[in-house]
Amino acid sequence: MTTTLDKTVLDMTEMELREVNTTLQAAAKAKANEAFVITNPRGSHAMAVGLDGPINVTIKGSTGYYCAGMNKEATVTVEGSAGPGVAENMMSGTVTIEGDASQYAGATGHGGLLNIKGNASSRCGISMKGIDIVVHGNIGHMSAFMAQKGNLVVLGNAGDALGDSLYEARLFVRGTVKSLGADCIEKEMRPEHIEILKELLEKAGADARPEEFKRYGSARKLYNFNIDHADEY
C-alpha cells in the first residue's frame, strides 16, 4: 500500500482481496472521503464490496463478478470492463464502468447511480428496486425483468423481452427495442419524465437529448392474477 497525491494505491499483485476490501471498508466507515486507486485487479471477483460511506475508489483495469456489490455512498470507478452483477443490490452512491458490463448489472439495486459507458449484457437492471442505471451503449435481452422501481436509461438499443413482468420501474430507450416482454408497453413521455431523464443524462455525462427517447412501463395487467391473462404468464 502506497500513498501518492492524496490517493492510496492498493496493488493487487501485493495484496489479497481480503486485505483490499478490509482497507476500503474501514476507510468508508471512517467517513473521511479518502481516495484509493486499485492497480492490477486482474479480473478479481467481489472487489470494493460492502462499502458503507463516502470514499472514492478507482480500479485500474477490469473486474470480475459483483464489483461494488451492495455499495452505500461510495464512488467507485472501473477503468475497464466489469463482470457479472456489478453494483448488485447497490443502495446509494455512484458506480461508473468505463468499458462494458456483463450480465445482471445493477441487479436488485435500491438506489444510487450505475453509469455504464459501454454496453451492458443480458438482464441489466433485473429486479431493480430504485436504482438509476444509465447505459451509454446497448443492453442485452431480458433487461429490467421484474424491475420494481427506479430508472433504466439506454442510449443505444435494447434486446429481446425488455421489461418482462415489469412493475413500476421506468425504462427510457433512445434506439430500437427488439421486443417487449410480457406486460411491458410503450408509454407517453410526459413533461415529468423529460425532467427525470434530463437530470439523469446530465448526472451520467451522456450526450443525448431527452426528446430522443421513448418511455416504456408496465401495462399493469399482471398485477393481480387473472385467468383471462393466463397466456401472458
Binding site: 471477483h45 451492495m70 452483477g85
Partner: protein
C-alpha cells in the same frame, strides 16, 4: 314379486369425492388451487421408524441423572463466528408478510427462550424479529425483497435459499390482499398487488456462480457469518454435494412436507421427495466428501415431535428446523376458532388458505383486528414450552439408546416398520437384518 337385490352404490377410488370436488372447483373458477402448508398426502415418514433401545448389547443412561447433551454448533467450516445453539431444533424461515409482525415476534421470543435460532423469510428483516431473536438467520432469496447490507451485517447467519421442500423449482406469490402499506414498503412494490417471488436468483445461475456469490457475501460481512444453503428435497445427493462445492457452512434440506405460505396444490403434492427419503443420500454426499459434521446438515419438513428430531439426528442430521409445527404451537388451526373456520368453509386442522389473510388465529394475516388475537408474549412462551418438550423427548430416546449426546444417535439404533421406510432410511425392516437395496441377499 320380490325386488331384485341391488349392489350398494360404489364410489370410485380413482374419482373419489375429494377428486371430484376439485374438478368441480376448477371448472367453476378456471384457476388452480393455491394453499399454504406442505404435502398432505400420506408418505413414508419418521412414524415408520422405531428405535430399538438398549438391551444386552447396549448400555442405557439413567433417565434423569446422567447427562445427555443437546447443544449444536452450526457454521464451523469457514465462518469466524459459528452459531452455538442449546438445542438441535431451529425455527425455519417464514416471511413477514405471510406472517403477522406479532407472529414473527412470538417466534423470536420462543426460540430465544429455548436457546435456539429463528429465521427471516421473503420480505426482509423486521425490528420485531431482530429485537426478540437472540440468534437470527437472515434469508437471502431470489426476490431480494428488503435485502440490504445493514441487515446482512446484523444477522447471525445467512441462509441462501435455492429451494424449499413444498416447491422445489418454484417461486412464490404473496397475494394482494396481504400487501399492506408496511409489507409493500419493505418490498419496494405498490400496495395491494400480487407480489411474485422469482424461482431463480437474479445474479447467479449455478454452483460455480454461487461460489463467487458466497465470496461476495463473506467479503461484505468480514467472513464472520455462517453461510447456509437451503435446498428442497429434489436430488439430495447432488444438491448437497454441490452446495458444499459452492462453499456452504451449513446445508438446510427441506422435504416435501415442509410448508409454504402459498403455492399451487399440484406443486405441493406432486413435486419433490419425502423428508425421510432425502436424509440418507444427503448424509452420503457429505461422507463421500469427508465433510459430514464439518458441514452441518439441518433437516426440515414434517418434524413434529422429539421422536422425529431423534430419528432425523440418528440418520445423520446435525439439527432440524420446524415451521408448520411452530405455527401450531403459537395457535394455528386451534379448535377454539372452529366456528370461524367453519365460516371460511373449513375446519380446525384443515385450514390452509394462509394466502387469503383471514386467519382466525391471527398468525397468517396482516389484518390489524385479527393480528390482535395473537399475544406475542404468551405465544412465545407456548413455543418455548413446545421446543423444551421436544428436546426432553429427544433426550429420553437418546438415553434409552445409551447416548450421552443426541448427536451420538445412529442408524444402528433404528428399524423400519415398512419396506418403503426401510429402503428410504436404509435401516433394517423390523425383525430382519435386511433393507431393500442392501446387497448380499
Amino acid at each position: 314379486m320380490d325386488k331384485t337385490p341391488q349392489t350398494e352404490p360404489r364410489q370410485s377410488w380413482t374419482f373419489s369425492n375429494s377428486i371430484n370436488s376439485e374438478i368441480r372447483r376448477a371448472a367453476a373458477s378456471g384457476i388452480y388451487d393455491i394453499r399454504g402448508g406442505g404435502a398432505k398426502r400420506r408418505v413414508p415418514h419418521f412414524d415408520d421408524l422405531l428405535f430399538l433401545g438398549a438391551s444386552m448389547s447396549r448400555y442405557p443412561l439413567e433417565g434423569y441423572r446422567e447427562k445427555c447433551d443437546t447443544s449444536v454448533t452450526l457454521g464451523t467450516r469457514f465462518a469466524k463466528k459459528p452459531i452455538e445453539l442449546k438445542i438441535p431444533i431451529t425455527i425455519a424461515g417464514m416471511s413477514f408478510g405471510a406472517l403477522s409482525g406479532h407472529a414473527k415476534e412470538a417466534l423470536g421470543r420462543g426460540a430465544t427462550m429455548a436457546g435456539t435460532s429463528t429465521t427471516t423469510g421473503d420480505g426482509g428483516m423486521t425490528e420485531e424479529e431482530r429485537g426478540h431473536s437472540e440468534k437470527l438467520v437472515y434469508q437471502y432469496l431470489p426476490s431480494r425483497y428488503g435485502m440490504n447490507p445493514d441487515d446482512l451485517r446484523r444477522a447471525d447467519a445467512i441462509e441462501i435459499v435455492v429451494g424449499q421442500g413444498a416447491k422445489p423449482g418454484g417461486g412464490g406469490m404473496l397475494l394482494g390482499q396481504k400487501i399492506t402499506e408496511r409489507v409493500a414498503g419493505m418490498r419496494d412494490l405498490p400496495v395491494g398487488i400480487d407480489q411474485r417471488s422469482a424461482c431463480r436468483h437474479p445474479d447467479w445461475t449455478g454452483p460455480d456462480d454461487l461460489e463467487i456469490k458466497i465470496l461476495e457475501i463473506r467479503e461484505i460481512t468480514n467472513w464472520e457469518k455462517p453461510i447456509y444453503i437451503k435446498v428442497g428435497g429434489a436430488r439430495p445427493y447432488y444438491d448437497v454435494a454441490l452446495a458444499c462445492k459452492a462453499g456452504a457452512d451449513v446445508v438446510v434440506l427441506d422435504g416435501m412436507q415442509g410448508g409454504t405460505a402459498a403455492t399451487q396444490d399440484v406443486f405441493i403434492e406432486h413435486v419433490g421427495q419425502p423428508t425421510l427419503a432425502c436424509i440418507r443420500p444427503a448424509v452420503q454426499a457429505l461422507q463421500d466428501l469427508g465433510l459430514h459434521r464439518e458441514v452441518q446438515l439441518v433437516v426440515s419438513g414434517g418434524i413434529r415431535t422429539g421422536a422425529d428430531v431423534a430419528k432425523a439426528l440418528a440418520l445423520g442430521a446435525d439439527a432440524v428446523a420446524i415451521g408448520t409445527a411452530a405455527l401450531v404451537a403459537l395457535g394455528d388451526n386451534d379448535p377454539k376458532w372452529e366456528a370461524e373456520y367453519n365460516k371460511l368453509g373449513t375446519t380446525a386442522g384443515a385450514y390452509d388458505d394462509w394466502h387469503e389473510g383471514r386467519d382466525p388465529a391471527g398468525i397468517t394475516t396482516q389484518d390489524p383486528e385479527l393480528m390482535k388475537r395473537l399475544d406475542p408474549e404468551a405465544a412465545g412462551r407456548k413455543l418455548r414450552n413446545y421446543l423444551n418438550v421436544m428436546t426432553l423427548e429427544c433426550q429420553t430416546i437418546a438415553r434409552a439408546c445409551g447416548h450421552n449426546h443426541v448427536h451420538n444417535l445412529e442408524p444402528e439404533d433404528l428399524c423400519a416398520l415398512t419396506m418403503e421406510a426401510a429402503a428410504m432410511a436404509q435401516v433394517p425392516l423390523a425383525g430382519t437384518n435386511w433393507y431393500p437395496g442392501k446387497s448380499g441377499f
